[in-house]
Symmetry: C2
Subunit: 720 residues, 2 copies
């Protein structure tokens, strides 16, 4: 790629970005699109355009995003989102603060040396305009030159800035989490613990429920409130879903009926339906009557099933409720039984994020599943490189022909060639990467993880390796191998040295990659063109009732599990190249700056979080930033060595320092993310908690029916 085309593509991306911004400003002003651009605010019952005061300035949303305080973000989108912004802003400030030194110092030092120009005149391959950019990198410094000292000092500066800001972020996030947990408002999950691996009911006790009840009442005579046994409610769930489906159909039929009452035909047309297979055959009946009948029928079935479930289908797990937040917090982290594979207790999570069917998996089965799933993921990481290699092979078909001329006849068949080169492998890769997060979430849930948020974290941890292996290693390795292929032949150095020496070249690729990401990617994110089109299409042709429309614009959540991993890839790239090719830093600043701004707007207006884990994601994020930092330090160590800089070993303290820092953080901060803290739980509550309300909030919807007599229901759930 020559310099002109590089600048051109940057300009194109910027143009697309500006276009998308203007589209966004234009479309978001139209009231009809409010449900696409401000669903979070609408669902929270706020006025969508409040604070934007109808000014015709297309950049007003930027100002709003900038001035919104962290407290407002937490109020509108939760602590998890706020922690995500701490991550973005921490990386951003690391880059800005290091750029202040790195850019004015390193660029002049690099550009005034002349190694590349000299060498390329005598080099094997033709001089390209990539060299123009390469003049700005460490690769342009003559070996053993004293100029390397500038890079050396910057290495230290960058590391120290990063460690300092990470420490500050750790403290801030810990504080955020503590504040959230100290909240005087009642959170049901703070009064409950999950009890798993309940042993078989001994003789003398009749049900699991009584057993759990007597066990916990003996230990907590004063603060034990009630227990809720996890039941096998799959059948009840099925009936309940059926019922909900009928209710929707009924609502739809009624809307259709209402709409048919035109002026010409004021009595309207009652919709009809065929009762046979898929509504295609069978006798025609009145739809409204039909669904009313079905609903009544199903309600009776559901009530019967609920009773059976409550009494006969109790399983070996339970939720136990306490009247005190401190006791619940303390119970959640204490060992209750002599044998650790019985009565294992853990903190409860929000009702909406409990994965009920995982609660009943036994202790050692969970351990086994964890190992099996990790093995499967490891295999996937290793062997998905096989299609990637195929893709590389096909995209450089031309190169392949040069190396092995005998395949030329095959390639000459133009139709075949097009298919091979463009469609098949790309399509496979796109489908693979689209399905990957879902697959990983499914696998993580298979491990027996009890809560949605933990499953998301586990999936995110696994996803992390794919873009890293794919983009970072793939491009670095692939690009380097190809370019140095001929050089190696007559100049056999170690592979590693070739790899690292070509880092500055690859930097150019990453510059374009970053620009694409932040201009086009974030532009599309902001303008929400796809959801907008989908919404308008659905509203016009499919949705009839209010509920159906609401479903059509449901915005989903921020998508932690993939977003953090993709950002982390950028962190690795920017960190590793920061000193070698400092020009990448402004690109990193733009990525994290634009990301912060646009996602803040989206978090405030669009996305609705599906759960709240109070920032438990942080240790996960922090560990990976730290790993990137250590990777950067080791890369620099090797790179300095290859530049024959004799003081390279003076960089060794850096990774050691990072490891010590990581160890201290893991000891000091992480446990507070894993386990509840008693002094936080002991903060006084605003009001005395309504225990019955707390208890009821955990009842799964399929077992919670207002129609069933409350008295009986309570009795059947917990005989206290």
């Amino acid at each position: 790629m020559d310099l002109t085309s590089f600048v051109t593509s940057l300009g194109t991306y910027f143009g697309i970005f500006m276009g998308l911004m203007i589209v966004y400003a234009f479309l978001s002003w139209r009231g009809g699109n409010n449900v696409v651009y401000y669903p979070n605010k609408i669902l929270k019952g706020l006025e969508p355009l409040e604070g934007i005061n109808k000014s015709r300035n297309p950049f007003i949303w930027m100002k709003v995003a900038l001035v919104t305080s962290e407290t407002e973000v937490i109020a509108l989108s939760g602590v998890d989102t706020a922690v995500y912004f701490v991550f973005l802003s921490t990386v951003l400030s690391i880059l800005v603060l290091s750029a202040v030194i790195l850019l004015p110092v390193l660029l002049p030092v690099a550009v005034t040396d002349e190694r590349v120009v000299k060498e390329s005149l005598t080099s094997h391959y033709n001089q390209t305009v990539v060299d123009e950019l390469q003049k700005l990198t460490m690769g342009n410094i003559t070996e053993k030159s004293n100029r390397l000292w500038a890079f050396f000092v910057c290495c230290y500066w960058f590391s120290l800035v990063a460690l300092g800001l990470l420490w500050k972020a750790c403290k801030h996030v810990s504080w955020l989490r503590a504040e959230a947990l100290m909240d005087p408002n009642v959170k049901p999950e703070q009064f409950a613990v999950v009890v798993r691996d309940i042993p078989a009911v001994p003789l003398g006790e009749t049900t699991t429920e009584e057993y759990v009840h007597s066990y916990f009442e003996a230990i907590y005579p004063e603060t034990y409130y009630k227990c809720m046994i996890v039941t096998d409610n799959r059948k009840a769930n099925r009936i309940w879903e059926e019922l909900e489906g009928y209710k929707k159909q009924l609502a739809r039929a009624e809307t259709v009926f209402q709409m048919s009452k035109t002026n010409a035909k004021p009595e309207g047309t009652r919709p009809t339906i065929k009762t046979g297979l898929l509504g295609l055959c069978g006798s025609k009946v009145d739809t409204i009557e039909y669904y009313n009948d079905r609903i009544n029928e199903t309600v009776t079935k559901l009530e019967a099933e609920q009773k059976i479930t409550q009494s006969k289908k109790q399983q070996n797990a339970a939720l136990v409720f306490f009247t005190s937040r401190v006791v619940a917090a303390s119970a959640a982290q204490s060992l209750h039984a002599q044998m650790v594979d019985t009565w294992s207790v853990s903190p409860a999570a929000e009702p909406r994020q409990l994965i009920w069917h995982n609660l009943t998996i036994k202790y050692f089965e969970r351990e086994l599943r964890k190992y099996l799933v990790n093995a499967v993921v490891a295999l996937t990481i290793v062997f998905y490189m096989v299609p990637i290699s195929f893709i590389s092979a096909f995209t450089t078909l031309q190169n392949l022909v040069e190396l092995a001329p005998f395949i030329e006849p095959v390639v000459r068949i133009k139709a075949l060639r097009t298919v091979l080169e463009a469609y098949l492998p790309q399509l496979a890769l796109i489908i693979f990467f689209y399905l990957l997060p879902k697959l990983l979430l499914y696998l993580s849930k298979l491990e027996g993880i009890p809560t949605q948020s933990q499953a998301v974290r586990a999936a995110s941890g696994k996803y992390f390796y794919f873009p890293v292996v794919n983009v970072f290693l793939g491009v670095t390795l692939g690009g380097t191998l190809y370019r140095t292929f001929k050089l190696i032949e007559d100049n056999p150095k170690s592979l590693l040295s070739w790899l690292v020496m070509s880092l500055p070249d690859n930097a150019t690729f990453f510059l374009t990659y970053l620009a694409l990401k932040f201009f086009v990617g974030y532009g599309l994110e902001l303008s929400r063109l796809v959801p907008l089109i989908l919404y308008h299409f659905k509203r016009k042709y499919i949705c009839k009732t209010e509920a159906e429309c609401k479903e059509a614009w449901a915005p989903g959540d921020l998508g932690y599990e993939t977003r953090v991993s993709e950002d982390m890839l950028i962190v690795i790239i920017v960190f590793c190249y920061s000193v070698i090719a400092p020009l990448i830093i402004p690109f990193g600043v733009l990525y994290f700056g634009l990301g912060w701004l646009i996602l803040r707007n989206q978090a405030l207006n669009v996305y609705v979080p599906t759960f709240e884990s109070n920032g438990r994601m942080w240790p996960h994020i922090h560990n990976r930033i730290l790993a990137s930092l250590i990777l950067y330090q080791v890369t620099m160590l090797v790179y300095f060595g290859l530049q024959k800089f004799y003081y390279a070993s003076l960089l060794i303290p850096l990774p050691i320092l990072s490891f010590i820092y990581g160890f201290v953080c893991a000891k000091k901060f992480y446990p507070a993310f894993e386990r509840p803290k008693l002094d936080v739980a002991a903060k006084s509550m605003g009001e005395a908690p309504d225990m019955e309300l707390i208890f009821r909030s955990f009842i799964p919807p399929s077992l919670n029916s207002e129609k069933i007599d409350d008295e009986n229901f309570e009795e059947s759930i917990s005989k206290v």
Copy 2:
């Protein structure tokens, strides 16, 4: 060594053992020796010879040791001792149960093959009578022979027996520990927790005490009782020790005075003392008056110092007391503060085993110390082999001369040779191994470990490596290397194969080593000749007062830290040779059988435990037995491979099975040894605990004085 001398030395050892037994029977009947042979019973206030009913049968003690139940052992010597016997009996039953199959099957199979006899006729080195014993080993089996299947099956049998019995032992010890912790008698440590890393007192609070008080009262408003701040009482300790010294001197002077009142001189001679340096110079004064004065003086000083210590020298650690056993158990394992390096809480230990000055060491300093100490120990393990190598070199001086004739002139100087060969290195080694447990205990305490029992466990963990490296690897490696030295020259196989092939030879050495250990070692243990002589000597020439006599026969404790490690060495040896040379099993049975019998007698009658950790040693012991088992399985795998047995790989499931077993045990049983269990703590108490008594039991003796007014004292300790 030929067969005759082997049998002779066995006979000699057995003779010594019988002699010592008769000496024991004879001496223990004499009432004057009761304090040497029955100190534990005397200190417990029991009749020493109760149950032995003066029968003149010299083996009556064996019967008593055999019929004593585990409950009685716990009553007389504590749970820790009972757990030690579970260890001995488990290993014993593994050996007995495997011997039932191994001996009748393997010995005939081995002895009827003729490989050794055939080979040794053509071998490089002369046929010795060691071969007689070697005929009974796996080494006598012809390569690839089908007879190896017998050994193969025995391998499985031994492993399965070991795993089964270990599992049973784990369950039994867990039950023992739970029973001990459920004891309805009040144990002060069950009502207290240790709080370390108390942060600096914030503005607004005056003392650490008030700070701790308000912190814990907020979290446990109903069950918090009081706190005791750890103080810097070094000065008070010094004064208190001085005072105790004076009291002893006074008692001695009074006894001397009493004894001087003979019939001839009924008024007696008042002893005098010189007040100058070491009682050698200065003016002569009346001893009794002098010490009375000093005592009064010191008491005043102590009282003043106690007040200063309580008010001014409060440190950053405390004991916090709760009125409920469950709350204390739960608090001890809960996270209290946001930052984990502040307010770290752990279970309290018995007052007598708290290492007070370690409580105040800060969190990260403890971590750092742990790593430093482990580094030092690792260095010691590696480099103490240097003197061992020297010793090997000198003891085989003759061999050395053969290999390097030029040193012969030096060796010819007889005086020099004797010194070199016999005295210097041996003496160094003996002193080293005598001091080693003390050094390791000192190092473990330097880690910042808060309790004596934990320090002992840590020291024992470290000690384990020394005999293993020394005896097992030293002898196996050393012996093998020397014997195969010439063979290697013209037949270069891998070192490993030579090592393992010579295992049967080394077995002979270990047979003698074991016999020495159990006949002579346990004989000396039983007869207690050294403490007997020391006691009679001291009583005759040194002790004057009752207290001094009591000190002279103080029996000490069982000495866990070295005993378990030394037994573990035998476990490794016997396990590894069990199938290769089954003849070692009877020796192992004798070692653990005699050990069980004699130490049970000693535990019941002699040793007084200095602390009670309710069997927390078990995971430590269990892990090491399991490691021995895995080592045995890997050795067998290699050995079968070298015998060219093609089905050797069928042994691979064994170590995998052992690892899974270890994993399951670590998850299922170990946490109950680390942390208190709530359902155990919730067992009802016999009586309502007297909290003031519990609180007082933790006051260090130097700060606990009856003379100080109780009211004031309480106030100064805890202003509630």
